[in-house]
């Protein structure tokens, strides 16, 4: 059948099971959006306030659902506004297809109105990108985009389409999606080698990251940890893969990780790193990280091996497959003294010991997060922005499920949260989505409230308002002699009032009690709510291990 380019895009999206796209129209995208008009009921287009919000929404949709997030933008500024969202997806290996429009091919290279060389701009932040200037190149490039985004280590792909290519017609043949190559699998001898190391080890520890999340390795991890009695720490990319109630779960590792996690890794004689890259926020001192241990690294991406920290044994494998093969080879072991040591670290540094009365005047961050968890069910998806609140959320949420804690980990993009919440809520209309944010991050993309209102998305944004740019403020106080450069903005934003202006519900809470009633009311809303919570600007994210330091230098207060 003969179709125009715009229709071909829609048809290929349907071939890949895409029923939701996020985006923003514009001049160069007119043909594509005209085609989309004919696909109402099949493809739902979510219009955001800003293309950045759309790209984060596609990201949140993908992280929550495991499907490919799709985002549309027009040429020029539309395309450049996607950049932060694409980069966030790239850094955290999130499958995304970004479809940008460009000026007609006769105008390419002439600095036409709203012309930008977006394939050049996105070279370093995509797995691959395509420039298509003819309708007959579209179907293949789009199918390739979906294949590449989902092959091996996932990530974003951009396809830039000239305006004429969406108008022209050509022959179109429906087709099944291209086959995605199987993930690499460990050889039996490699698994045996690691099993032998575990069986010989006295103080093993597991450290797992985004690769464990992506491969759905939660069950395998729990089984291994229990069978051989191995404690396991996670990066921020893997919160929820093992439930936080599991006594072998050490919690977050790294700069703001728990004492237990960092101690267990530091004194281990064997560390098994699963789907993780020894980033500078974990291996704060790459020479001294887990210095007493033999290091094993398992990853599907062989470029991760020895990239940051040199390891003793490396295995190129899907983490889930690796764990399935490993489990029968690992001997059952009990390590009571080790678990007891971990319990004592956990107990000694437990913040939850504080009484509720501590939040009587100003709310304590961990108590606020505790309340959020108490008042939401186990299917809840928590989304954060970036900064102190993000770390508190990673530390204190009682994580229960994989893919239920969405955060911009690698890029650390403030402003990620609202868009990602919209994406998550679109993917799971029946689940509760709680957006945990700070006043700094929220100022960046709060305008996406209009999107949540239009689409009746009952996202609850809990704003940790300390009236400073908290994380940088904390560093300036800790390391720059209190020279508070550009972190005390003197804003008097009335969040509750703004929420009402957008057509959302706005609440304010100065005590835990007030928060409870506000949150209870927000839970009953059909649309978005904001709850502004006052916290003390001197609240710090602790513990903290500074860059270049080790657990011996951990700052506890």
């Amino acid at each position: 059948m003969k179709l125009n380019g715009g229709n071909i895009v829609c048809e290929v999206l349907l071939e890949h099971g895409v029923d939701t796209v996020f985006g923003y129209p514009g001049g160069a995208a007119l043909n594509l959006y005209d085609a989309l008009y004919g696909y109402q009921g099949k493809i739902r287009h979510v219009l955001t306030a800003h293309e950045q919000g759309a790209s984060h929404a596609a990201d949140g949709y993908a992280r929550a659902s495991g499907k490919t997030g799709v985002v549309f933008a027009t040429s020029g500024p539309g395309a450049t506004n996607l950049v932060t969202g694409i980069a966030a997806a790239f850094m955290d290996s999130v499958p995304m297809v970004a479809i940008t429009s460009n000026v007609a091919s006769s105008l390419i290279g002439r600095d036409a109105f709203q012309e930008i060389y977006i394939t050049g701009v996105t070279l370093p932040i995509t797995k691959h990108n395509f420039f298509v200037n003819r309708a007959d190149g579209l179907a293949h490039a789009l199918r390739e985009s979906f294949r590449i985004a989902n092959t091996g280590r996932k990530g974003p792909v951009l396809i830039d389409i000239t305006k004429n290519a969406t108008a022209e017609s050509c022959e179109f043949e429906p087709m099944a999606p291209y086959t995605v190559a199987e993930l690499p699998k460990a050889a039996d001898w490699e698994v045996q080698e690691v099993a032998d190391l575990i069986n010989k080890s006295e103080r093993p520890a597991i450290y797992f990251g985004g690769g464990a999340t992506a491969s759905g390795a939660g069950g395998g991890l729990v089984a291994l940890a229990e069978k051989a009695d191995i404690p396991a720490a996670h990066t921020i990319m893997a919160a929820g893969v093992i439930g936080s109630e599991n006594k072998r779960n050490l919690g977050l590792i790294g700069m703001h990780g728990t004492v237990a996690a960092n101690m267990a890794i530091d004194n281990a004689d064997l560390v098994i790193a699963l789907g993780t890259r020894f980033s500078d926020r974990v291996a704060l001192n790459m020479e001294k990280f887990a210095k007493r241990a033999k290091l094993v690294q398992v990853d599907i991406d062989r470029s991760e091996i020895n990239k940051n920290v040199s390891v003793d044994v490396s295995v190129i494998s899907d983490v889930k497959y690796f764990l399935e093969k490993l489990l029968p080879l690992v001997e059952e072991r009990r390590r009571p003294e080790r678990l007891a040591a971990i319990d004592s670290w956990k107990e000694k540094y437990r913040v939850e010991k504080d009484a509720d009365s501590d939040s009587a005047g100003v709310i304590k961050p961990h108590q606020l997060i505790g309340r959020i968890c108490d008042m939401t069910d186990k299917e809840t998806i928590y989304v954060t922005d970036v900064g102190q609140h993000q770390m508190w959320a990673a530390q204190y949420i009682k994580h229960k499920n994989t893919n239920s804690f969405l955060t911009s980990a690698g890029l650390g993009a403030m402003g990620y949260g609202y868009g990602a919440s919209i994406g998550a809520q679109m993917a799971f209309p029946g689940k509760r989505v709680v957006h945990i944010t700070g006043d700094g991050s929220f100022h960046m993309n709060m305008s996406e409230a209009c999107t949540a209102v239009s689409n009746r998305l009952p996202i609850i944004s809990v704003i940790f308002n300390n009236r400073v740019l908290g994380m940088v403020y904390q560093w300036q106080n800790a390391f720059y002699g209190g020279r508070l450069s550009a972190t005390v903005p003197e804003r008097v934003t009335d969040f509750a009032k703004i929420a009402e202006g957008f057509g959302a519900r706005g609440f304010r809470a100065n005590t835990l009690g007030e928060f409870e009633s506000a949150f209870a009311a927000a839970l009953k809303e059909n649309g978005p709510s904001w709850i502004e919570c006052s916290i003390d600007r001197e609240e710090k994210v602790l513990p903290m291990i500074p860059n270049g330091a080790t657990v011996e230098d951990i700052i506890l207060e």
């Binding site: 394939t119 050049g120 070279l123 370093p124 797995k127 691959h128 420039f131 590449i148 991406d301 062989r302 470029s303 091996i305 020895n306 990239k307 040199s310």
Partner: protein, 174 residues
């Protein structure tokens, strides 16, 4: 780009990258090299006998195993890259091409021709006031030649960077 006048052959490694010949392919490779902060000496690219296939040769200073592994593994992740591999120095022939224009008249022409003769270079253009010399060889030979002609008045220099091919009858496969 590194001058490489005192280059020690041991400290250089050559990586061959087989890529799809499509628009932007060199930009993709160089963007990756820039982004990852890889320190390279030279990069050359050319089409091959295989339709649609381009061969890129990268010379890397130093022989840190992790660095070389990173360059190869990161490069292989690019969609356009079919294969990237380290050339076995002992079994590979390397060549570089030099074109150099030197001010020359009857006072120094004979001296230059003598050097050209010894190095088995070629004079490919001659005028009353200048000559252009072509020399092919190992980069070390070109460095040595450049040392020899340094005392003359050099107008322009152009070097292609190194390219290399392994001995034997094995075909390129990926």
């Amino acid at each position: 780009m590194e001058q490489g006048n005192n280059a020690n052959p041991v400290s250089k490694q050559v990586i061959c990258i087989i890529v799809d010949n499509q628009p932007n392919v060199l930009a993709r490779i160089s963007s990756l090299i820039g982004r990852r902060n890889f320190n390279i000496s030279t990069i050359t690219a050319s089409e091959t006998n295989l339709p649609g296939i381009t061969r890129i040769t990268v010379v890397v200073s130093g022989d840190d195993e992790n660095v070389l592994h990173q360059i190869i593994a990161q490069t292989e992740k690019l969609e356009v890259v079919k294969k990237a591999y380290l050339l076995d120095m002992s079994n590979t022939l390397y060549r570089e091409l030099l074109l150099v224009k030197i001010k020359s008249d009857e006072t120094n022409r004979a001296a230059l021709m003598e050097i050209v003769e010894i190095y088995r270079a070629k004079i490919i253009d001659l005028s009353k006031s200048s000559m252009i010399i072509e020399l092919t060889g190992l980069p070390e030979k070109i460095d040595a030649f450049m040392d020899m002609v340094d005392c003359f008045s050099i107008v322009e220099v152009c070097r292609t960077g190194v390219t290399g091919i392994e001995r034997g009858k094995e075909e390129l496969k990926w």
